[in-house]
Symmetry: C2
Subunit: 167 residues, 2 copies
Amino acid sequence: MDRFFAAHRERGLPVTTQRRAVFEAILGRSDHPTAEQLYDAVRRQLPQISRMTVHRILGAFVSLGLVARTPHPGSAARFDPKLDQHHHLVCLDCGRIIDVEDPRLNRLPWPDINPREFQIEDYHVHFRGRCAGCRQSSKAARVGQKPAARLALSSKSIKPGLKKAAP
Amino acid sequence: MDRFFAAHRERGLPVTTQRRAVFEAILGRSDHPTAEQLYDAVRRQLPQISRMTVHRILGAFVSLGLVARTPHPGSAARFDPKLDQHHHLVCLDCGRIIDVEDPRLNRLPWPDINPREFQIEDYHVHFRGRCAGCRQSSKAARVGQKPAARLALSSKSIKPGLKKAAP
DNA sequence: AACCAAATGGTAAAGATATGCAAGTAGCTT
DNA sequence: AAGCTACTTGCATATCTTTACCATTTGGTT
């Protein structure tokens, strides 16, 4: 929370009720919420806050270095109070993000590129896989997943009839 | 391109003109295009192709393991035809993605978690920083970027005219 | 050549984020 | 303590990306 006030004071930015509420909300949880989830959480204390304000505040926090927008394959960005370098497990099924702290991952070799071409600031390792819950359900669901398609394709000539779409 | 036919034949899925065009389009470029960019590219050959078809086809390619949907902080998903393990430089300003191949990064220690709780399949290192072009422009832009906030405001001296036009 | 499952196309909808402007507020200055 | 001013907020709207429905067409088999 000190970081929050310090970052604002350093740049002379006003500390508003909304900003404080959003920051408290994100500090209070470690599940990498989306902007929408934070909006819902903050609204319990500030019922009239606008969804756009939450988005704008989160964008400002990212610029201030207070939180990180974590890369995520899906569409909704996830936000993470950035405290120290850490990494993530991402479930390919449910999208859940789990923190990983492993000191061995914090001193990786940086790729050998010319700093004039690309200046690296930091990095972040993304482990992909499946969490316990999704492995259970996928085992069950795998039966009906791909209805066997139309197998039995004898490898006849595939004749790549490359034609333009017929009228 | 063999992978493309093989993957379809193996599952008995029909190889349509549209699928072939989308796959050729993504093979031809190494800049991790978005679905929209691929739609534009494909449309030069199949002017009547639907945007939705491109999205659906890309989703199918991901399921088939033909392309990867690369994690990206922004909203638009990026697609990548490279299948061997590689990593990415991501420019924080322009969002450009550059491939990194460094064998030292391909044998990282995996975090010590119970495989019953989370089963890791693979990983991927995300280096963040700024590309040459953006470093140039940001150096210039940094002047007007943060107008010094209001730290040095001594009431009547500074009047930064960058406000909206007066009503 | 005929058949069948799957793919395609078009519109509209849903979700997330950005923008422009009027009014409110935090924090400095007096 | 009161005033000033830039920053922030709220609201409505616009944009961008992705998805849903369903009639029609196409690819691959027999």
